[in-house]
C-alpha cells in the first residue's frame, strides 16, 4: 500500500535493516506517581515494517513502556519521535491491540472495525474511502462476510481478529500489540501469530509486540529486545534471521531460545 515495490516476504527482515525508523525513543524514564521509576533512560527504535518483540517477565514494565511509546503516557524524561516528529499525542498512524479484544458490544463487527475513524482529530476521509478501508481490514483478518455479527456472538479468536482489523483500518505505520494472544488457547494463538506476521507484511506496517512468551517472540519477530531489571532497561537484543516459516527450523529456533534463556538467567 505504501510502497510501489512488491517485496518477497522472506526478504523483508533483511530489507528493513537499513530502513528509516518509524519510531525512535531516546532516554525514556517513567514512574507511576511517587513510586520508583518503572524504567529509566531507555532507548529503542523501530524501523519501518519491522516486527519487534518486547520480551520480559510480567511486571517488568512492558505495558507501561508501550503506553509511553504509543503516546498514551508522558515520559518523565526523554522523547519519542514518530516518523521524525516529536510525538505529543498518540499518532494517527499508530494503532493498538490489547490482550483483551475489548470490542464495543453495542456495535457490530464492521462498526467496531471502523470505530473512531471519523473522530475530529483523525485524518479526514470521505465515508466511501473509510468503508473501503473497513472492508479491506475485515478481509485481511479473514472475517469477510461477518460484518454484521455482534461481539457477543464471536469466539475469542474471532474477537481478537476483529481487534486486529480495527487496528489495521487505521492504516497504521506502527502497530502496538500488548500480549494480544495470551488470552487465547494454544491452537488459536498459533493461528493468530501467523496471521499477525502475514498481515504486517502485506500491509507494510511495523509492529511492536509485547510478550512474555519466548517462543512467540521467536516465531513472530524480526528483532527481539529483552526488558528487565529494576528500574527496567533493555538488557539484550537479538536479530532473528531464521527464515519463515520458522516452525520448519526447529534447531535454529531452539538455539535462539537457549540463548534468550541464558541471557535471562544472567540478568536475574
Amino acid at each position: 500500500m505504501n510502497s510501489p515495490l512488491p517485496e518477497p516476504a522472506l526478504a523483508i527482515a533483511a530489507a528493513a535493516a537499513d530502513a528509516p525508523a518509524v519510531l525512535e525513543a531516546r532516554g525514556l524514564s517513567y514512574a507511576h506517581g511517587a513510586a520508583g521509576p518503572v524504567f529509566s533512560h531507555l532507548s529503542l527504535s523501530i524501523r519501518r515494517r519491522e516486527i519487534v518483540a518486547l520480551l520480559g517477565g510480567s511486571g517488568c514494565g512492558k505495558s507501561t513502556l508501550l503506553r509511553v511509546l504509543a503516546g498514551l503516557a508522558r515520559p518523565a524524561t526523554g522523547e519519542v519521535r514518530f516518523l521524525d516528529t516529536v510525538q505529543a499525542a498518540p499518532h494517527p498512524r499508530s494503532a493498538l491491540v490489547f490482550q483483551q479484544a475489548s470490542l464495543l458490544p453495542w456495535l457490530n463487527l464492521a462498526d467496531n472495525v471502523g470505530f473512531g475513524l471519523d473522530f475530529a482529530h483523525q485524518p479526514q476521509t470521505a465515508k466511501a474511502a473509510r468503508d473501503e478501508r473497513i472492508k479491506a481490514a475485515i478481509a485481511a483478518v479473514g472475517l469477510a462476510g461477518r460484518e454484521g455479527a455482534w461481539p457477543a456472538q464471536l469466539s475469542g479468536g474471532m474477537a481478537q481478529r476483529t481487534a486486529l482489523a480495527r487496528a489495521l483500518a487505521r492504516q497504521p505505520e506502527l502497530l502496538f500489540a500488548d500480549e494480544p494472544f495470551s488470552a487465547l488457547d494454544a491452537i488459536t494463538r498459533a493461528e493468530m501469530q501467523s496471521l499477525l506476521v502475514d498481515v504486517v507484511h502485506r500491509w507494510h506496517t511495523a509492529a511492536l509486540l509485547v510478550t512474555h512468551d519466548i517462543d512467540e517472540a521467536i516465531l513472530v519477530a524480526d528483532r527481539i529486545v529483552l526488558m528487565g531489571g529494576r528500574p527496567g532497561r533493555l538488557l539484550h537484543e537479538w536479530t532473528v534471521d531464521i527464515p519463515r516459516n520458522r516452525e520448519d527450523h526447529p534447531e535454529a529456533v531452539g538455539a535462539l531460545r537457549l540463548a534468550i534463556l541464558s541471557a535471562l538467567r544472567h540478568a536475574s
Binding site: 504509543a70 498514551l72 498518540p90 493498538l96 458490544p105 453495542w106 457477543a152
Partner: protein
C-alpha cells in the same frame, strides 16, 4: 417444543387459580360476601371493566405517573451516578447518605410530601421518583466503574475529544447497567405506585382499589389486582427485552 415450554408456567397459573377458587369457596362459607372474590365473578367483572372506559382511564393515569416518576429518576440518577462513578471524592462523601436514604421506604415520606407538595400528582411523582432513583444511581455508578479501561485507552489513542469519549464510549458503555437500573426501578415504582395512589388523588389503579372497596365491589377489586399484576409483568418484560436488545444477547 412450544407446548412443552408453555406447559410448566401455565400449570403454575392453573394451580394458583384452583387454589383461589377453593379459597373463595371456603371463605364464602365464613362470610357470604366473599363469594364475589371468586375467579368466575372476578373474570366477569374484569370483562365488564375492560369493555368500559373507566378502568382504562385509571390505567392511563397510573402509567403516566410511572413515566414521570421514572423520567425524573433518570434525570437525577444518571448524572449523580456518573459523578459517583467518576469522582472518588463525591462517591466517598455521598455513599453513606445514599445508602441511608435508599433504605427509607418511600411511603414513609408520604405525609411530608403531601404537606410540602399539596395533594394531587406532585407528591405521587415525588414518591415514585424517590423510590426509583436509587437503583438507577447505583447501577449507573457501577457501570462507570466497570467501563473497560481499554475502551478509554482506545478513545485516547484516537485522540478523541471529551465529547466523543462521552458520546461514543462512556454513555453507550454504561447503557446496559442503566437499563438494569431501569428494570429494578420499574419493579419498585410499580410496587410503590398503588399505595402512593391511595392518598389524596382521585384516579389511578391504587385509587380504583380503594374506591372498589368503598363501593363493596369486591369482584372489581380482584379484577384490578389482576390488571395490576398483568401490567407489572408487561412492564418488566418490556424492560428486560430492551436490555437484551441493547446487548444483542437475545
Amino acid at each position: 417444543m412450544m407446548g412443552a415450554n408453555l406447559l410448566l408456567p401455565l400449570s403454575g397459573l392453573v394451580l394458583a387459580a384452583l387454589a383461589w377458587a377453593a379459597g373463595s369457596v371456603w371463605l364464602a362459607g365464613v362470610t357470604p360476601i366473599a363469594a364475589s372474590f371468586a375467579p368466575l365473578e372476578t373474570a366477569r367483572a374484569l370483562l365488564a371493566l375492560l369493555q368500559g372506559a373507566e378502568l382504562w382511564e385509571h390505567v392511563a393515569v397510573s402509567l403516566e405517573r410511572v413515566a414521570v416518576g421514572l423520567g425524573v429518576a433518570l434525570l437525577l440518577g444518571i448524572p449523580l451516578g456518573v459523578l459517583t462513578g467518576l469522582s472518588p471524592l463525591f462517591s466517598r462523601s455521598t455513599t453513606p447518605l445514599f445508602q441511608f436514604a435508599r433504605m427509607i421506604s418511600p411511603l414513609s415520606w408520604m405525609p411530608l410530601a403531601v404537606m410540602v407538595l399539596g395533594v394531587g400528582n406532585a407528591p405521587v411523582y415525588f414518591l415514585l421518583a424517590f423510590a426509583a432513583v436509587w437503583p438507577i444511581l447505583l447501577n449507573t455508578a457501577a457501570g462507570v466503574a466497570q467501563l473497560d479501561k481499554n475502551w478509554l485507552l482506545l478513545a485516547r489513542s484516537l485522540s478523541a475529544t471529551r465529547r466523543e469519549t462521552i458520546v461514543h464510549v462512556i454513555l453507550p458503555g454504561i447503557t446496559a447497567q442503566i437499563l438494569t437500573g431501569v428494570r429494578l426501578a420499574i419493579g419498585i415504582i410499580w410496587i410503590v405506585l398503588v399505595p402512593a395512589e391511595m392518598l389524596g388523588v382521585s384516579a389511578g389503579l391504587g385509587y380504583f382499589i380503594l374506591d372498589a372497596r368503598d363501593r363493596l365491589a369486591y369482584s372489581d377489586l380482584m379484577a384490578a389486582i389482576l390488571v395490576i399484576g398483568f401490567l407489572g409483568y408487561l412492564l418488566d418484560h418490556a424492560a428486560r427485552t430492551l436490555h437484551k436488545r441493547w446487548l444483542h444477547a437475545a
